[in-house]
Amino acid sequence: MTEAFLTSADAPTDVPLKRRLKRAERARQVKALALVLPLLAFLLFTFLGPIAGMLWHAVDDWEVRKVLPLTVAALASWDGKDLPDEKAYAALADDVLAARAAGTLAIAAKRLNYAVNGFRTILTGTARNLKAPPEPGTAKETLGKINPAWRDRATWAAIKGASGPVTGFYLLAALDLTRNVDGAIVAAPPDQAIYRDIFVRTFTIGLSVTVLCLILGFPVAYLLATLPAGRSNLLMIFVLLPFWTSLLVRTCAWIVLLQTNGVVNDSLRFLGIIDAPMRLIYNRFGVYVAMTHVLLPFMILPLYSSMKAISPAYMRAAASLGAPPLTAFLRIYLPQTLPGIAAGSLLVFILALGYYITPALVGGGADQMMSYFIALYTTETANWGLASALGALLLAATLLLAVVYGKLVQGQQVTGGMKN
């Protein structure tokens, strides 16, 4: 409507009207934006801010800087080739004494222990044995006597590496990488190199569940899309009811069904198929069954809506032109379902990557996914840096896939697949 006015507004007498319309439109736009702003402000506080804070924790390196400030300052000019000079040793002695008095030494010790295993012992032992500031010029000798580690370049490199204010340490650690004495990026020692395995495991579980959902979901979506509306609406309840049932109820139900003396094992024994109960839960099998069950509706619903849009006339045309049913299916029907397959698979994969509750309840120790370790490092061991670095990587993977998904389903109705 506005545009029609604007195009007819070429005559000079119409200029004020054109301006008035523009002004009215601008006021409308400001009003529209003002309606969205409360939610944006709210999300800034309850979502975007917290996520940004987590990302900051992944690179924030404040502990050593705060507890050993003199040492950090003294090491700033250290080139790392030889042992640092006397000045740095004296600074460290002063810092350690001050930190011990303030009770903050454990904070730095914890951070340095992440970089070099056993650093905690070095630092606390030094603090215990250092009674008073060393005589001027003897700090290097005194500290070396207390713990020979102070004669090792690597000890000092660890402090310098942890001097902050920002660090790539946690992000590197999350990729099983570390910096060596000379600052080069190398593979982490094998006892700390567990995260690539966890990534691989997370992606393996996510991918397997996606494939299982696709295999199980395809015929169901096809049936629902092909049946007359009345019958298909009735059968849709079998998809929507589980979809709406609490995740915890479903997980709990699977444990009841699959446990050693559960319904499945009892039935199989009753039928004489097995003699002893099989282990069906608290292992990878249980994770696959429960996760596939939870995520299957997220596959069926997008598949269904893409199949619903395919006109049966295409298949009839293919048949009338002499295509055997299988050929018609593979060359005419299947290609048209590809957007639905892609959308459903991406959605299931994205959701599966972030799963926590289900694997935590039905998986064993070797079935825990990324989320489990993020939670573990946050609440149990309070290694916030590593938790945040792992979180940042998981977030990056998720957002990347979500962008692809967004491009894919642009304009498509996706509400049905949005319930988490």
Partner: protein, 276 residues
């Protein structure tokens, strides 16, 4: 291709039968756990096995008379209702604004508004834990309500937005041209028409909060433990029949929500059919 009536060749018929058989198996897979857990909650014995030794309501009795479970139901209701109200207000305003706002930043804003749905729960929970702990919002109702509102609002934006797509903005213009102040026009013209979308958005929001457990795990103190949180620790320790009773109650709530939602959808479709 509707049903098997139009299927002519043998191979087509076989393929159709296979589809039906496979689908039936998948339907059984989908429904079995929900159906299997229900009778166990009415068992008179304390083992979760079939056949049931007898029928009894003792586990429901135990659930209702347990202070811990009842407190969790109360917490779930408080947090669920409060975050539903908050997310309906914020989400409806945003949906109304987004429907009229024209800008190249709109896709970005939309992505931000919808992102709480996509971001893994643990990441949101960890971020909130770091962010809310220093300002005293962990272990508080307010903190959980705010967090659940953030998770639930996208659903309100989506459902209300979908309703607005079929809403004729000329109606609002007509109201304005007849001299209605915009708040009055909203209350008397827009609100009644988008009410079905708003209601299903509210149901979505409530269901999201009522089922959420990851954030509660990180942020709730002992005072704010919700029903799913109580179930989580129950499943961890040892699944007792009381938990199956809780599961049946939760499922019943879901069925009621689903039925209401379906009713709203049908009503909406009928209205659309009448006006067309």
């Amino acid at each position: 291709m509707s049903g098997d009536a139009s299927l002519r060749t043998t191979s087509q018929r076989i393929a159709w039968r296979a589809t039906i058989v496979l689908s039936t198996l998948v339907f059984i897979f989908l429904m079995a756990p929900i159906l299997a857990i229900m009778p166990l909650s009415f068992s008179s014995g304390s083992y979760l096995t079939y056949p049931l030794p007898g029928f009894s309501l003792r586990w429901y009795d135990e659930f209702i008379h347990s202070a811990r479970w009842m407190a969790s139901v109360k917490n779930s209701m408080i947090i669920g209702v409060a975050s539903t109200v908050l997310s309906v207000v914020l989400g409806t305003l945003a949906a109304l604004g987004l429907a009229q706002w024209k800008s190249r930043f709109k896709p970005l804003v939309l992505a931000i508004v919808l992102s709480p749905v996509v971001v893994p729960g643990v990441i949101t929970a960890v971020g909130l834990y770091f962010f809310f702990a220093p300002i005293g919002l962990t272990g508080s109702y307010l903190g959980l309500i705010l967090a659940h509102t953030a998770l639930a609002t996208p659903f309100v934006v989506i459902t209300v937005g979908a309703t607005l797509q079929s809403f004729d903005m000329n109606l609002a213009r007509a109201a304005a041209s007849l001299g209605a102040p915009s708040l009055y026009a909203f209350r008397r013209v827009i609100l009644p028409l988008i009410l079905p979308g708003l209601a299903s958005g509210a149901l979505f929001a409530f269901a999201t909060s009522f089922d959420e457990v990851v954030i509660v795990l990180f942020m709730a103190g002992p005072e704010q433990r919700t029903l799913p949180r109580e179930m989580f620790s129950g499943i961890r320790e040892n699944i007792s029949p009381t938990i199956t009773a809780a599961a049946v109650i939760l499922t019943t709530v879901s069925v009621i929500l689903l039925a209401t939602m379906e009713g709203l959808r049908r009503r909406n479709e009928r209205l659309k059919g009448n006006s067309a």
